[in-house]
Amino acid sequence: MNSGNFELSGAPDPKGRYGNPYGAEARDKDSDRREPLDEQAERAANYRRNRDESLQLCNDFHAFYGSHAAYHAEL
């Protein structure tokens, strides 16, 4: 996965904390301290999957919330 895609969409962790390999600090590390590329790619895929999952959770919640008034009227 191309890390440039993350920069276009806004790096969520600019300091490279929490093990995010896309932060500025992570990019500045010496190459011998970097993760192998396949691990970076896997973590990038996992990161994207988790964000998509959260977005879906929010979407599902708001779909529920649309019918929420009716739900509360029954309580």
Binding site: D13, G19, Y47, R51, Q56, D60
Partner: protein, 137 residues
Amino acid sequence: MPPTTPNFNRYYIYELRPEVPLPFQYVLSLTSSELDYRYRTNNLTFAPIIPAGPYADRDPYRVPLVPASAGGGVRLNRRMYVAVDALQTVNKAVFLPSHLGRITAGEERELVEKLGHWLGMSRQEVGEHRKDASADK
């Protein structure tokens, strides 16, 4: 039989009523309604708890919760994850009035740190914001 409570407390796990059609069953409360009688707090802000998987272990916005059966503090039947970046607020009536335990101190620390980071309210980020603001003057 789980303990019952008329209140909802911060860092405790609650379960949605079975008839609530949401893709998650458990939530972590970030609101305390202990003072509900006085302040008439009716809404609960929460983060969903989801099964996720090993891919969520090193995520900046997922907090793993260890079940009580494995030495943790919450009565979940498996390892699950708090989705810090999916916060919501809803009327507390959608929750069953019993909790499934409180997260451990370590989990709380991780939650506070990740939540602060996601909201841009961690100490370091607030400090940087102040530094930027003073530089603008």
